[in-house]
């Protein structure tokens, strides 16, 4: 379980949000919402320790992530705004590298299966530079099936993906949650009302007056 208490983020002398508490238990999908500039990406980057929070604590399975960062990092798949794929390497080479970096031992067959699942059968050995924006996003999403981490942290995963891909991604999220996984994502995508989802509205954690 991911538990977050009393987070406060400051960017350029502006308090984005404060006193932010939430829990993410297994089987839950949480969508971080809020207008542009309310700190959605800042929240995800801060959780991944890419940028420091002003204050607050993050607990993973009851342990403070600052005290034991590698245990938390081993259990998270993070796909940020930038995908982290090398244009000159093929999809398989990129994914093989990223899985080794995450200290997961994925075979080439696993990677090919994951690429097939995200609809890139036949593109396994094409350099990333030759793929379209949506296909690149799909390559990045294939990591989720290779790394099989309990927690997925996704920043705008629906960007550039076609209609069929959006529906497929929705089912992958639900499948992951049903298998006991957790998803934390930011998106402006509008889910169906019956989608099993929790919302975290950052606007309500914004300080009322400018400080």
């Amino acid at each position: 379980m991911l538990a977050v208490s009393n987070l406060c983020a400051v960017r350029d002398d502006r308090v984005l949000f404060e006193h932010l508490d939430f829990n993410l238990a297994s089987g839950q999908i949480m969508q971080v919402v809020g207008a542009n500039g309310t700190g959605k990406t800042t929240l995800l980057n801060g959780l991944m320790a890419l940028a420091p929070f002003e204050s607050g604590e993050i607990y993973w399975q009851g342990q403070n992530t600052q005290h034991n960062p590698s245990m938390f990092k081993q259990n998270v798949s993070f796909i940020g705004h930038l995908l982290g794929l090398k244009p000159l390497l093929t999809a398989v080479e990129n994914l093989y590298f990223l899985s080794q970096l995450q200290q997961k031992s994925a075979s080439v067959a696993d990677i090919e299966a994951a690429l097939k699942k995200v609809g890139l059968y036949g593109y396994e050995y094409v350099p990333i530079a030759h793929l379209s924006a949506g296909q690149k996003r799909r390559v990045a999403l294939a990591r989720l099936f290779i790394e099989q981490s309990p927690l997925w942290v996704l920043d705008e995963p629906f960007t550039a993906i076609d209609h069929a891909g959006v529906q497929a991604l929705e089912t992958w999220l639900i499948d992951h949650a049903q298998q006991g996984g957790m998803v934390l994502l930011t998106t402006h995508h509008v889910f169906n009302p019956d989608f099993p989802l929790q919302r975290l509205d950052l606007t309500s954690y914004r300080p009322q007056e400018y400080r």
Binding site: N45, M48, L50, V76, F78, L83, P87, F97, Q103
Partner: protein
């Protein structure tokens, strides 16, 4: 942990192989500078061999500095740097792996090219050995130290210009002792003392600079 480190090294070498212009550029710069000296100064063997150590080392220092901007630039632009930061592997070790892969493309190649440089500058064979040894011990220190500059400037658009400015003072001791070693070898004096000092600089750089580079990278990504 070691699988991540090996993965970083092999990926960076593979990338270098696919864009050979990136790493061949500093090497051709190195050879060009050295080949111009006999033409511009004098072709007298005695004069050339007297200044060979300095010429080769200045050319090596400048070509390493030229190549340093590419160390983290692409990783920063395509988001690979974020993935390196969120990986469970300790960041200083990952940094060491990246600098090692980069050194294989610059310092190691310069060391291999140094016999050609020695030939162009009329250095006797035994002094050419001394020159290669100083490059082998000295260029990793140059790469490690300028990696701090590369990390500090990676979030700036034209940060590459600042790397020499930031790190040049730190390269001076290496330059002094390396050229002194070549000079001593030319005069038939023992060079072990100089080499020991260069090795000491290298040990210091290997242990301390990855921590500084890791801190600078965190600042660049989080700032």
């Amino acid at each position: 942990m070691w699988s991540s480190v090996l993965a970083v090294i092999s990926r960076d070498l593979k990338l270098a192989f696919r864009q050979s212009g990136e790493w061949l550029n500093p090497l051709s710069f190195f050879v060009m500078v050295i080949s111009l000296f006999p033409l511009a100064i004098s072709a007298t063997p005695a004069k050339l061999s007297a200044m060979a150590g300095g010429v080769v080392w200045i050319a090596a220092l400048l070509s390493v500095l030229l190549s340093m901007d590419s160390l983290f630039r692409q990783d920063y632009d395509d988001g690979s740097l974020e993935q390196l930061l969120v990986s469970p592997a300790p960041l200083p070790l990952v940094v060491l792996a990246k600098v090692f892969a980069h050194w294989c493309q610059t310092g190691a190649c310069l060391t291999l090219l140094s016999p050609i440089a020695a030939l162009l500058l009329h250095l006797p064979a035994d002094v050419a050995w001394a020159l290669a040894l100083t490059l082998l011990l000295g260029t990793p220190t140059l790469s490690l130290v300028s990696a701090i500059g590369a990390a500090l400037t990676v979030s700036l658009k034209r940060g590459g210009v600042l790397i020499p400015l930031l790190t040049l003072p730190l390269h001076i001791p290496v330059l002094i002792f390396a050229t002194a070693a070549v000079q001593a070898a030319l005069n038939g004096l023992p060079i072990e003392g100089y080499l020991a000092l260069l090795a000491a600089f290298l040990v210091l750089a290997v242990t301390l600079t990855p921590l500084a580079v890791a801190a600078a990278l965190r600042l660049a990504v989080g700032g």
